[in-house]
C-alpha cells in the first residue's frame, strides 16, 4: 500500500489537484497497485502545486508541479522509488520550506485536515491541555508575554485585548474569529483553515476559557467556499472528539463554535462592520468607543481576532511565551506568515521571524518576476497598503519600521509588479475600490474616494496636473484623518505612495502603456 498525499487546498485544486487524484486512482486501479490518497493542506509552495507527496521509510518525498499527463510515469517512479523529472526530494528538505520558521503553519500541508487523530499526533491540542491546567490569569500572562499582536493588520497586542474582555463582567461573552480575508495578495487565513483548521478551533477555545466565553463565531468570506467546508467539517470532528461542546477535555469549561458566511463586502473585514454583519445587519462601521471588548457582538464583551492570531495561540501555550517571543525584532515578536504573490517566480506562504527585509523577500525568496522583467513596485498589506519602490527594499518586516515609512504590513500580503505597471492606474484603482466598498457611513471615505477617482482621471488626461495633484493630496489627508475606519483611513497609503515614489506616472498616460492596453 502506497500512501500518497495530494493537497485539497483551493490553490492546488485551482491548478488541477482533483484531476490528479482522479487520474491517480484510475492509473493505480489499472495497474493493480494499492494506494491510499490523503488530501492534505498545502505546504504553501504554490508554484509547485499540485505538489504530490509519497510516504517513504525516510520521510515524505515530493513531486511537483504534477499535471494529469504526468500521473502514469509518476506512479511508476513511486512504485520503484526511481527517478522522475518532477521529483523534488524530501519535502521537508526543500530549501524554500527549510529556511522558514514555521510555528503557526507547522502542521499545514503535513496533516490530514479532517483528522483530529492526525492533529494530535503532530502536537495538536497540547496548548489547550496546558491552558486547561492554568488559571485565566496565567494564560493571559503567557499571551501578553509572547508579544503577539493582532495579525489582521492593526497589530494591537492580543494579551491586552483579551484582558479587557476577561475583566469585563457580563452574562454572555463572545469569541469572534475574523476570517474575512479580503486583501488581495493574502491567503494565509484560507490556507490554515483548509490545511490545519483545528489549530484555529484550539486557539479560539483557549480564548474562550481565558475570558469566560462559551460561544464563538468564525466569520468566513463567501469567496472561500473550500474554507467554509473545511471549517465546518473540523468543528463537527472536534465536537465528536470532545474538543468542543460541554465539558471540554473533561474540564468544567464549555465552548461552542459556529461558522457564518459573509456576502461579498470587503468592509466587513473591519471588526465593527463584521460584528454588525454577524448580527444580521448592513456592514456599517461602528464608531469606537465603545470597544468590542466592552460592547461587541450583540452588545456583549467580545474578543475579535484574526485567524492567524488565534492560530498562533496553541504554540504559545504549548511552548511558552518565551519560545514565541524569542523570534522577531523590536516590538514585533514571533513569526509572520508572509504571503508572496503577483508577478513572481516563487509564490506562496513564507512564515518567518519579523525582521526580514522587503528586498530579501522580493529578490531572493520570490526569485524576481515570472515575466523576467525588473521589479518596479511592491504593494504590501493589501488594497490599503503602500507601494514600495526598490529604494525602500531595505525596510525590515516590522510593524514600526513600516509605519515609519507611511505604510503598513497589514495582514502580511506582498504583491509584486514588474516595470509595465502604471502607478497612476493603481492609484485610481485604490480610490475606485474604496468607492465601491465603502460602507457609506462617513463622508471622507464615501465621497472622498469617488472624488479621488475623478481627480486621478483628470491628471491622467493631463488636465491642470499640478492643481489636481494638490487636490488628491488634500483628499488623502481628509480621508486619512477624518474616516471612521481603516478603509477610508488607509486608502491614502497606496495613493500617496504611488504619487511619492512614482510621480513620473502621473500626467498624461504614457505612450508605452497605451500600447500595452
Amino acid at each position: 500500500m502506497m500512501r500518497i498525499y495530494v493537497p485539497c487546498d483551493a490553490a492546488a485544486v485551482a491548478v488541477g489537484a482533483d484531476e490528479v487524484v482522479a487520474q491517480l486512482e484510475l492509473a493505480a486501479a489499472t495497474r493493480g497497485i494499492s494506494i491510499e490518497i490523503i488530501r492534505n493542506g498545502s505546504r504553501g509552495l504554490c508554484w509547485l502545486e499540485p505538489m504530490v507527496e509519497l510516504a517513504t521509510a525516510q520521510d515524505r518525498v515530493a513531486f511537483g508541479p504534477v499535471g494529469v499527463a504526468d500521473v502514469p510515469s509518476l506512479l511508476d517512479a513511486m512504485s520503484s522509488n526511481g527517478p522522475h523529472r518532477l521529483r523534488l526530494g524530501l519535502a521537508d528538505e526543500i530549501p524554500w520550506l527549510k529556511r522558514q520558521t514555521r510555528l503557526t503553519f507547522a502542521r499545514c500541508g503535513v496533516i490530514d485536515p479532517r483528522s483530529v487523530e492526525d492533529y494530535r499526533a503532530h502536537g495538536g491540542t497540547k496548548g489547550l491541555e496546558r491552558a486547561l491546567s492554568l488559571t485565566p490569569q496565567a494564560i493571559l500572562a503567557d499571551v501578553t508575554n509572547s508579544g503577539l499582536r493582532g495579525r489582521g493588520g492593526a497589530g494591537f497586542p492580543t494579551g491586552i485585548k483579551w484582558k479587557t474582555v476577561a475583566d469585563t463582567n457580563a452574562d454572555r461573552k463572545f469569541i469572534v474569529c475574523n476570517a474575512d480575508e479580503g486583501d488581495s495578495g493574502t491567503f494565509a487565513d484560507r490556507m490554515i483553515m483548509e490545511g490545519d483548521p483545528f489549530v484555529v478551533i484550539e486557539g479560539m477555545t483557549i480564548a474562550g476559557i481565558t475570558v469566560g466565553a462559551t460561544k464563538g463565531y468564525i466569520y468566513i468570506r463567501s469567496e472561500y467556499p473550500h474554507a467554509v467546508i473545511a471549517m465546518n467539517a473540523a468543528i463537527a470532528a472536534a465536537k465528536r472528539a470532545g474538543l468542543l461542546g460541554a465539558r471540554i477535555g473533561g474540564s468544567a469549561h464549555s465552548f461552542d463554535l459556529e461558522v457564518r458566511v459573509g456576502a461579498g463586502a470587503y468592509v466587513c473585514g473591519e471588526e465593527t462592520s463584521l460584528l454588525e454583519s454577524l448580527e444580521g445587519r448592513r456592514g456599517l462601521v461602528r464608531a469606537k468607543p465603545p470597544l468590542p471588548a466592552h460592547k461587541g457582538l450583540f452588545g456583549k464583551p467580545t474578543v475579535i481576532n484574526n485567524v492567524l492570531s488565534f492560530a498562533a495561540i496553541p504554540f504559545i501555550l504549548d511552548n511558552g511565551a518565551k519560545a514565541y517571543a524569542d523570534f522577531g525584532m523590536g516590538r514585533s515578536r514571533g513569526t509572520m506568515p508572509i504571503q508572496l504573490a503577483g508577478n513572481i517566480k516563487y509564490g506562496g506562504l513564507f512564515e518567518t521571524a519579523f525582521g526580514v527585509t522587503l528586498g530579501e523577500l522580493v529578490d531572493d525568496i520570490c526569485g524576481g518576476t515570472f515575466t523576467s522583467r525588473p521589479v518596479r513596485a511592491v504593494q504590501v498589506g493589501g488594497p490599503l497598503g503602500a507601494y514600495f519602490p526598490r529604494a525602500l527594499f531595505d525596510t525590515p518586516f516590522d510593524y514600526e519600521a513600516f509605519a515609519a515609512c507611511d505604510s503598513l504590513i497589514g495582514h502580511g500580503g506582498i504583491v509584486v509588479f514588474d516595470d509595465t505597471v502604471d502607478m497612476a492606474k493603481q492609484a485610481r484603482f485604490a480610490f475606485g475600490f474604496c468607492a465601491v466598498e465603502s460602507c457609506g457611513k462617513c463622508t471622507p471615505c464615501r465621497i472622498g474616494s469617488t472624488r479621488g477617482v475623478e481627480t486621478i482621471d483628470k491628471i491622467r488626461n493631463g488636465e491642470r496636473v499640478a492643481e489636481n495633484l494638490a487636490v488628491v493630496e488634500d483628499l488623502c489627508n481628509t480621508m486619512k484623518f477624518g474616516s471612521l475606519c481603516a478603509l477610508g483611513g488607509f486608502t491614502p497609503y497606496p495613493v500617496m505612495s504611488a504619487l511619492k515614489h512614482f510621480s513620473e506616472d502621473f500626467g498624461p498616460a504614457p505612450a508605452r502603456l497605451q500600447a500595452a492596453e
Binding site: 485551482a14 491548478v15 508554484w47 491567503f187 469567496e223 473550500h226 457564518r260 456592514g283 504573490a341
Partner: protein, 162 residues
Amino acid sequence: MTSPSEPCFEPWDQQRGAEIIAEHATQEGATLVILHALQDAFGYVPEPAIPMVAEALNLSRAEVYGVFTFYHDFRKRPAGRHVLKLCRAEACQAAGGDALAARAEKKLGVAIGNTTADDRVTFEPIYCLGLCATAPSAMLDGRVVGRLDETRLDALVAEAQR
C-alpha cells in the same frame, strides 16, 4: 475530469420560501443566513421573500431590504446559466489579469458585470479568491481555476458558453 455542475435552482415558491425562513429564523442575527439560504435554493432572493423575512425576524421591510442591497453577493434576479467570476484585484492585475479580462469581455461580447444576451453566462468581477500565488484566477460556478493564460481562459469561457 470534473466539470462544473450545472447550477440547479428551484422556481420561487412561497411555501418553500417560508420553510427556508422558518428553518433559520431562530438563530441569532439570522438575516444573512436566511438570505444566503434563499439564494442557494432559488438562485436569487425573490422580492416577495423580503417581507416574509422581515415578519419572521420582527424587522421592518426596509431593514431587510437594506441588508439585501448592502452585500454584493445577493441577486435581485436569476443569473445566467453559468456564472464566471474573474478576479480583478491587485495580485491578479500584476499577473496579467487586465488583459485577460479584456479578452474574456471580447469573447463573451459583454462588459464585465453583465449577462450575455442569450442568458448563458453571467460574467462578474470578484475581488480576491485567495489564489494570489497561482494568479490570475477565476471561479466558474463554484469551481476555482488558477494560473490562467490565454489558452486556459479561452477554454474556461468556452466551457461557460456551452
